[in-house]
Amino acid sequence: MSRLGPVYTLAAGAVVAVALGAASLKAAPSFQQVGAAQDTTAAAAPPAESLPAPSQEPSQQPSGEPVGAPDPTPKKADYAGVVQGNGGLVAIAVRDGKAVAYFCDGRIEAWLKGTAENGTVTLEGKDSLITAALGGGKAQGRLQVGKAKWRFTAPLVKKPSGLYRASAAVRGAKIVGGWIVLPNGQEVGRVQIGGSGEPAPRYVPGTAVDYYGVTLRPEEPDGFIDELVR
């Protein structure tokens, strides 16, 4: 046996690991393959067709944000948009003072929960934080995940756009899937199971999602906000 054979074996393993690392650093986030190329227009105007301009009367907005009332916080509102500088998506759902948010860029994700009052939302999740001002047909604020901080502007959206979550228990393992759908068709989502996670199968609103043979039924925030925010 060559004296160096085992060293070559170790070196081959290290080379493969370094190659995988280089390839992973270069690889594009998976959501860009799924969604439309929308990154650059993110912060600008709200998606035109389905939403009125921010300057229009609040009463005409689809989810009816009562601006000018004593408490400007909407009772029910759904926001979704692109995170500036990250390209991932963020969605915030407000229901009667409760708020839930989801951030996902195809690689990392965060579920956040909190409250909506005085026209602002404050949401916390594992290693993540969102603060945003509600009004003018949009949620505008900051997102922190781990050490990274980004700004975002998320316009009001209505079905079938917005936030979806599916949870299931399979033989002791908990599966949680999250999706954000934008009016322009851009979508991102992840599924976590047993401490692991991976990009979610594409979700077509109104249908079920097959995840390794497990049927996931994504719900709108009405269906899960009370379970997440108590």
Partner: protein
């Protein structure tokens, strides 16, 4: 485990360097898995329905080859009654392929997910993963050395095998029994 058995010509002293390097590898992997922010994404082997399935099957391949490792090692040490010229290459190459099969798995685990201690299965898997590469490194570095105690290779090889089977049980077996046997 090494401090008492000093036999006349053979000594544990040459074993210290492989064991030390192996320990460094194990600790370094564990620290990296804990310290860096998991990316949630890593390039892996294509052709599977997702990274979980990819890892479950590559680990299964490595575990099957690990059984070949044990059987060929038993034969090489003359315990099976037969010694052939092809035993050593079989042992060497099944081991190399098994090791290389584990690399994309471990890379995804460490780079995309990181070491986690949230549930017993994940905790054991994280610790065993770091231990596996440490003891594998120690075994590789011990192979060319002369004058090592006779038990060195069986013990290190046995630990590598045990760790890999433990890794398979806490990952692939869990995957197959939870989500089913699917590519």
């Amino acid at each position: 485990m090494t401090h008492t058995t000093v036999i006349t010509k053979r000594s544990v002293v040459p074993l210290l360097v492989p064991l030390g390097v192996g320990a460094l590898v194990a600790v370094a992997l564990g620290v990296y898995g804990r310290a860096h922010t998991p990316t949630g994404f890593a390039v892996g082997v294509a052709g599977f329905s997702g990274p979980l399935a990819m890892k479950a099957w590559l680990t299964t391949g490595a575990a099957l080859l690990a059984i070949v490792q044990v059987l060929s090692a038993i034969a090489m040490w003359g315990r099976a009654g037969a010694r052939s010229a092809w035993l050593a290459p079989l042992h060497r190459w099944s081991g190399r392929i098994a090791f290389l099969l584990t690399i994309p798995v471990a890379f995804h685990c460490l780079y995309a997910l990181g070491a986690q201690y949230d549930s017993p299965r994940v905790l054991i898997h994280s610790l065993l993963g770091s231990f596996f590469y440490g003891v594998f490194t120690a075994k590789m570095l011990s192979l060319p050395r002369r004058g090592l105690p006779g038990w060195t290779l069986p013990v290190l090889g046995g630990l590598v095998f045990t760790a890999l089977i433990g890794l398979w049980l806490t990952s692939s077996f869990w995957f197959f029994t939870t989500l089913g046997v699917r590519l």
